[in-house]
């Protein structure tokens, strides 16, 4: 095995501050994948960007060496002149970035952007470059390469854009590919396909890959070598099977424990009892009319169709789906923030046996009461707290609005809620910027609790957080549910997160619920091909359980390719049928 890239004692810092990357060393072999694993702020991105010297202007490469043993000889990348470095970028070493949405220029056609690499490094003419690019497009899985050549990035989905990025990185046949969180912004099924693509390209070309990720499941599926980083230092490194099989360093072990997993279930769960329903969505549909521009007809888009859901008191109902599946629309309708189409209604029972209130036909007093009893926790803790309000003001504001208690009462309540979510009461005088992402999400939860709600709607409350923090927040949500007898409507894209907290799961795809059951039943006996694909696409941190790409491709593809009993065309989805008590699947009889 020949070493392709040797990084030794790499140290990077800003200004006079302590280094952000401190003495990192690793070695990538040709034909192998090395995974740089770590949570946000661990320095993994800065490390991989140092290789190509694509760094923020203020960053300094302070110490160490980066030796690249390419086919054209060895180069020391730390001190290579800028011009020689440019010859290596995109040609011998190329890079894929995290956000396919923003990493491509929206003003240039994909063909132009990809062919540019060849025109730069291979001195190719227009026609020859186009031929090579079309070949590459076909290889990365574009069904119609010519159309992809002509397309603008905004005409494509995230997965397709990432494929275009990969084509751009691969078209010059580099010896080393650096992929910086290439699938973090993608849905799980898309992630599985993109990872599969990188792996098969690697097999064809024999290139080395540096894969930067925070997800141990991705590591298990991709890497031969692993480097675990924390706070700029290497915690543990070695062969993937050793590190993943028996993590030696406590930090790695902690990452492992926190990684959400879909459990392997031996027996299905008992069907849920529905004697006390707090929230009920009946036949809820929502269509939007999109105005496409001054001179075109508006297009109607169906965000969700005929959704029937019931949240039992004290339980958690989770809606799981990928982006665009309509799960957030459902949550917004359940909150009363949007009205459903004609014929749908949402009922709320504040107390057991009470007369249900229709959320979209409330009078003023009912609405005020409902707004107290149903609260929401948002996805992004960075933008859901006002940066100009002290924690105390943010926590007491809801009570002020509803005119509850005196100023002293409100302060006491705020302090109490803060201690509930595990934060110290002396933090009341601080501003949100003084808190980490996980602490901010605790603050959001505390704010939602100040009004003593009965129902909490959580819209992806952990997806902006690191795995270890996610784990803590989920534990907190479980504790609070017991303590305050709350009911949750939990929105998530991640089956593994839901596996842990939900009592019942509804899987949504393209606006319809395709399968609904308690999680154990769902994992023991998934029926619908899309559910199977979601489960199969979940990367497990176990190198003996690789992702089954066929299963993913089958279920995540078009409904026309599903097995006969699930197949449909256009909007003519079959009805949701109850296969066994508590387990509903959308299929033909």
């Amino acid at each position: 095995m020949t070493a392709l890239l040797e990084v030794n004692d790499l140290t990077v810092g800003f200004g006079d501050a302590a280094p952000i990357v401190d003495g990192v060393s690793f070695c990538v072999n040709a034909g192998e994948t090395l995974a740089l694993v770590g949570e946000s702020g661990s320095g993994k991105t800065l490390t991989c960007r140092s290789v190509l010297r694509i760094l923020p202007e203020a960053a300094q490469l302070r110490r160490g060496s980066i030796q690249f043993h390419g086919s054209t000889g060895t180069a020391e990348l730390m001190s290579l002149p800028e011009k020689a470095m440019r010859a290596i970028r995109g040609d011998r070493i190329s890079m894929i970035f995290q956000e396919p949405m923003r990493s491509l220029s929206p003003l240039h056609r994909l063909g132009n952007q990809v062919a540019e690499v060849l025109r730069l490094h291979r001195n190719m003419g227009r026609a020859e470059a186009k031929r090579c690019v079309l070949e590459q497009f076909e290889q990365v899985g574009f069904a119609d390469p010519v159309r992809a050549w002509r397309s603008y990035p905004f005409e494509m989905s995230g997965g397709m854009r990432q494929r275009a990025m990969i084509a751009m990185a691969m078209v010059a046949k580099p010896e080393l590919l650096i992929a910086d969180e290439p699938t973090t912004a993608l849905d799980v099924t898309t992630q599985a396909q993109v990872l599969g693509l990188i792996r098969s390209l690697q097999k064809d070309t024999g290139m080395g890959v540096i894969l930067v990720t925070h997800d141990l499941g991705v590591v298990a599926n991709m890497a031969q070598q692993v480097v675990v980083m924390n706070k700029g230092r290497v915690m543990e490194s070695g062969l993937a099977k050793d590190v993943l099989g028996a993590p030696a360093h406590p930090y790695t072990a902690k990452l492992f424990a926190a990684a959400p997993m879909i459990p392997q279930v031996a027996t299905p769960a008992r069907p849920p009892v529905r004697d006390d329903v707090i929230l009920e969505l009946r036949n809820v549909s929502k269509t939007y009319a999109m105005r496409a521009g001054g001179w075109r007809k508006p297009v109607t888009v169906s965000a969700c169709q005929n959704v029937d859901l019931q949240v039992s008191r004290g339980k958690t109902l989770a809606i799981v789906g990928e982006s665009g599946s309509g799960k957030t629309t459902c949550a917004r309708i359940a909150m009363g923030a949007e009205t459903p189409d004609e014929g749908g209604e949402v009922l709320f029972r504040p107390d057991k046996g009470a007369e249900p209130i229709s959320i979209h036909n409330m009078d003023r007093t009912e609405r005020t009461l409902f707004q107290r009893q149903a609260q929401m926790v948002f996805q992004d803790p960075y933008s859901s707290l006002s940066p100009r309000m002290r924690v105390q003001d943010a926590l007491t504001e809801p009570m002020e609005i509803h005119g509850i208690g005196s100023a002293a009462d409100r302060r006491d309540k705020a302090a109490e809620m803060l201690s509930w979510v595990g934060l110290d009461t002396n933090m009341l005088r601080r501003f949100p910027h003084a808190f980490s992402g996980g602490q901010r999400q605790r603050l959001s939860i505390a704010r939602a609790l100040t009004l003593d709600p009965r129902l909490l709607i959580c819209d992806e409350p952990t997806s902006a957080l690191d795995v270890s923090v996610q784990d803590q927040i989920l534990t907190l949500l479980e504790d609070i549910r017991e303590r305050a007898n709350l009911s949750y409507l939990f929105i998530s894209h991640d089956l593994a997160v839901v596996a842990r907290i939900a009592d019942e799961v509804a899987v949504m795809r393209a606006g319809v619920i395709v399968e609904q059951a308690p999680p154990d039943t769902l994992f023991y006996n998934p029926q619908h091909p899309y559910t199977k694909a979601l489960i199969a696409a979940q990367p497990e941190p176990d190198i003996n359980r690789p992702i089954d790409l066929d299963l993913v491709a089958k279920g995540a593809g078009s409904p026309q390719l599903w097995p006969e009993e699930y197949r449909f065309e256009g909007m003519q989805a079959p009805a949701l049928r109850e296969l066994e008590p508590g387990h509903k699947v959308r299929c033909h009889a």
Binding site: I54, L107, G294, R296
Partner: protein
């Protein structure tokens, strides 16, 4: 063909807008009580020159000023028959100037083209100065290049136009032998177009262009710099770097293209600002544009002259916005496809 359909649609909306503008212009000019002729009649009566009153009364009837305002508008626009039948804007008849006692077309005539010329030169100046300076200031942000460009820009913004004009005339004449005032040498006025005349006009244009254009150029430069700085931090710039593009080509191909939109969109805003700004400058510099006539017409309620000039300015503005809208559609596929990217 999307673009062609858009162009036609845009042209139709421009005509509609122009119609609305014409109503507004006419109404606003007629808002102050009285009109040129009734003011004159009052003055004649007061000074006892009764024989003039009959002529003024005759003109009032002749130009339909004794009609209700909506009818006056229709007659002026040429959509209703006046005392001379259909003879309004639509028929190419721009009306009569009471102040100068000549047809509006005759007064405005050459000045129209001079106005277009002066302002086009100024717009060109704005773009030629702002584009390189703005890009340079952004690419070399927070270095002496940036600071110098910014300083010159703010100086341009802060100096009053007429002061700048006087300074430039003085020094231009003293050191470069530039002519003072006017848009051509006096002996060439009224002569047919010739090479000597073109040369003379170009020489006379230097100072006015500079005076009218500096403030716009300074503002535009700062806007372009800010836009460029925003774009330079975007991930697609990193992507381009990772391809191995050289800095100058990278800058021109990606961030500049993105930062260009507001730059292009400003064409429409630039024209009216310049024309109204150049009214005063024209008076100070003695330029034969429509600026001075507009000032006189507004002061004396010479309504047909004022209305025609305002309509002309509105037309220029609308054409400017139409051009910038069409350029945007050509430049930015996201607008062309009506999508968000």
């Amino acid at each position: 063909m999307i673009f062609l359909r858009y162009a036609v649609w845009r042209f139709i909306t421009m005509l509609l807008t122009l119609a609305v503008v014409s109503v507004l212009v006419f109404v606003i000019i007629n808002l102050p009580p009285g009109d040129y002729l009734s003011n004159q009649i009052a003055e004649l009566r007061a000074t006892g020159q009764v024989e003039g009153v009959a002529k003024a009364e005759f003109l009032r009837h002749e130009y339909a000023l004794d009609q209700p305002i909506w009818k006056q508008y229709l007659i002026w626009a040429g959509a209703a028959p006046g005392p001379q039948g259909y003879a309004g804007l639509l028929q190419g008849n721009f009306g009569w100037s009471f102040e100068f006692d000549r047809p509006v077309a005759e007064i405005v005539g050459n000045a129209l083209w001079m106005t277009v010329l002066v302002n086009l030169a100024a717009v060109l100046f704005v773009y030629l100065i702002a584009l390189p300076l703005g890009v340079l200031a952004a690419a070399k942000s927070e270095t002496w290049v940036d600071y110098t460009a910014g300083f010159i820009g703010y100086l341009g913004l802060a100096t009053p136009n007429f002061l700048l004009a006087l300074i430039l005339f003085y020094y231009g004449h003293r050191y470069f032998d530039l002519p003072i005032g006017g848009l051509m040498a006096p002996e060439l006025e009224g002569e047919p177009m010739s090479w000597a005349k073109v040369q003379s006009i170009l020489l006379h244009l230097i100072v006015p262009t500079f005076v009218i254009g500096t403030a716009g150029a300074a503002a535009m430069m700062q806007r372009l710099r800010a836009n460029m700085l925003d774009e330079l931090g975007k991930p697609y710039v990193d992507t381009a770097k990772a391809k191995g593009l050289a800095p100058a080509r990278l800058l021109a191909k990606y961030p500049l293209r993105m930062a260009f939109n507001p730059f292009v969109a400003d064409i429409g805003n630039l024209l009216p600002a310049m024309i109204s700004g150049s009214v005063l400058v024209s008076v100070v510099l003695g330029l034969q544009t429509i600026g001075p006539s507009l000032l006189i017409a507004l002061k004396s309620q010479d309504q047909f002259l004022a209305a025609f000039i305002l309509m002309f300015v509105a037309l220029l503005t609308l054409i400017g916005t139409m051009i910038s809208d069409m350029l945007l559609v050509l430049l930015d596929p996201r607008i062309r496809y009506g999508a968000r990217g």
